[in-house]
């Protein structure tokens, strides 16, 4: 299981909230990114939190600077609407792009980017909000807006495009540090062959064990616990190695 450090970025600062709200500045993106790289993160996710809302992604120059001395894969998410947006980010050193909001307006953009950059570089990003014991609704614009789309239906619908990975974020668990939404990942991993990145909810090591018990998950994405130095990437990776034995 890979450990991914996630940076939610607004106006060139890393921010973090609870359930995607009450956002607070927690640091400088590339300083944190460098730290997580040195600490042994397997990958980084740069997510532009206001990009979809304002119709732009501002991360190209930030990523360009980051990749000068960070040599692990970087995924960029947020506000990628067109081939031009994707080209700019890829040219500036991004390895993968994660798309959510635009797919609800124009799903062909997913197909176009997969054809151009290959499945392995294009991720399907879904923000899932629990609406009943067994169902979740897909949200867009960084967890702000409803789509009336059932998450499992959406995963099935999108599977025809052959996305390389599924970045599945639980809006309810995000920033709460109370554990992953295990049922969400259990259900999703049963209906799709796409490798899943579980995002949102990590608070302590046992949360990983719990998740692993119910769902086949290839990677976990962690932000708050790392930003607030509750735990180090090294400790998380050692724990994962231990429970794999």
């Amino acid at each position: 299981m890979r450990v991914i450090a996630r940076l939610d970025i607004k106006n060139e600062n890393v921010i973090k909230g609870i359930n995607f709200e009450g956002l607070r500045v927690v640091g400088n993106p590339n300083k944190l990114a460098k730290k997580y790289y040195i600490d042994g993160a397997d990958e980084l996710i740069y997510s532009d939190c206001v990009a979809s809302l304002y119709g732009r992604n501002n991360l190209a120059s930030l990523v360009k600077n980051a990749v000068k001395d960070i040599f692990i894969p970087i995924t960029v998410a947020g506000g990628i609407r067109s081939e031009d947006d994707a080209d700019l980010l890829m040219k500036n050193g991004s390895d993968k792009l994660a798309i959510n909001t635009e797919l609800f307006k124009n799903e062909i953009v997913g197909k176009t980017l997969i054809q151009k950059y290959g499945s392995q570089s294009i991720l399907l990003s879904i923000q899932a909000k629990k609406i009943s014991k067994t169902s979740w609704e897909a949200y867009v614009n960084f967890g702000r807006d409803k789509t009336d789309m059932d998450v499992m239906e959406w995963i099935k619908k999108m599977s025809k495009y052959n996305f390389g990975e599924l970045l599945l974020t639980s809006v309810d668990a995000d920033g709460v540090s109370g554990g992953f939404d295990v049922e969400l990942y259990e259900k999703a991993s049963k209906i799709t062959e796409i490798p899943i990145i579980a995002c949102g909810g990590f608070g302590k090591l046992n949360h990983i064990q719990e998740l692993k018990k119910y769902a086949e998950i290839e990677a976990i994405s962690i932000s708050k616990a790392l930003h607030y130095e509750k735990i180090s990437i090294k400790e998380i990776k050692e724990f994962i190695e231990k429970i794999n034995d």
Binding site: R2, Y37, G40, D42, K64, V67, K68, D69, F71, I72, P73, M90, K91, N92, G93, S94, D95, K116, Y117, G118, S119, Q120, S121, G164, E165, E193, I194, P195, E218, A219
Partner: protein
């Protein structure tokens, strides 16, 4: 001899990161698709991300086949990365059977064909060791690499049907063994991304540039 390090730019692959990695190892590098410049190189890096057929199309459209075959004859050091490694071989079955650059004999097939009873997810994405099983001679770009070092892989296809002359260091994904680092004469290939594999990946790039 003065080193002239070239990254071939045929529009695919994270060229900026490879360039940064070469710079980080203390070398200058030229990113180009110009045949003349490529023909004067001492070290050529062939990047690659994406699909085999479109990569070959771009490579041929830029009229680079001749330049790289000449480089092989001149004993230039060549390093193919990920798809760039696969392109060095005879052909690939990705989407449709497509001829490769064919500097070395071998076929590229979907990973599940490299073993039996494979029922895991593809692509193989993640960090894995690369010295699980080896055949042939030790590969010198793996100098100072230990069996506990891990590298970042992201691929669905792997190399098969290569000749005995190829030196191979294998990796393993679930129950599939596949070539992770290959070497024939002055030609090298990494199935993983050394430029995305942290300090241990940079070591491999450094080793290559010191040849």
């Amino acid at each position: 001899m003065i080193k002239k390090i070239i990254i071939i730019d045929y529009g695919l692959g994270n060229i900026l990161s490879i360039k940064n990695a070469v710079n980080h190892c203390g070398h200058n590098v030229i990113v180009t698709s110009e045949r003349k410049i490529i023909e004067s190189a001492s070290h050529i890096i062939l990047p690659g991300v994406g699909a085999f057929p479109s990569a070959m199309r771009r490579f041929k459209d830029l009229d680079l086949m001749d330049a790289i075959h000449k480089a092989k004859k001149r004993k230039v050091f060549i390093l193919g990365i990920c798809l760039g490694m696969q392109l060095l071989f005879t052909d690939s079955e990705e989407f449709e059977l497509t001829s490769g650059i064919n500097l070395i004999k071998g076929n590229v097939v979907k990973l599940d064909k490299l073993g039996s009873n494979f029922n895991s997810k593809l692509p193989n994405i993640g960090w894995r060791n690369c010295e699980i099983v080896s055949s042939g001679k030790n590969i010198n770009i793996l100098k100072y690499i230990s069996s506990s070092d891990k590298f970042y892989f992201v691929h669905s296809y792997g190399l098969i049907n290569y000749g005995k002359e190829l030196n191979v260091s294998k990796s393993i994904y679930k129950n599939i063994e596949f070539p992770a680092v290959v070497n024939f004469e002055n030609i090298y290939g990494c199935q993983f991304h050394p430029e995305k594999s942290g300090p241990q990946g940079l070591k491999i790039i450094k080793n290559f540039l010191q040849l």
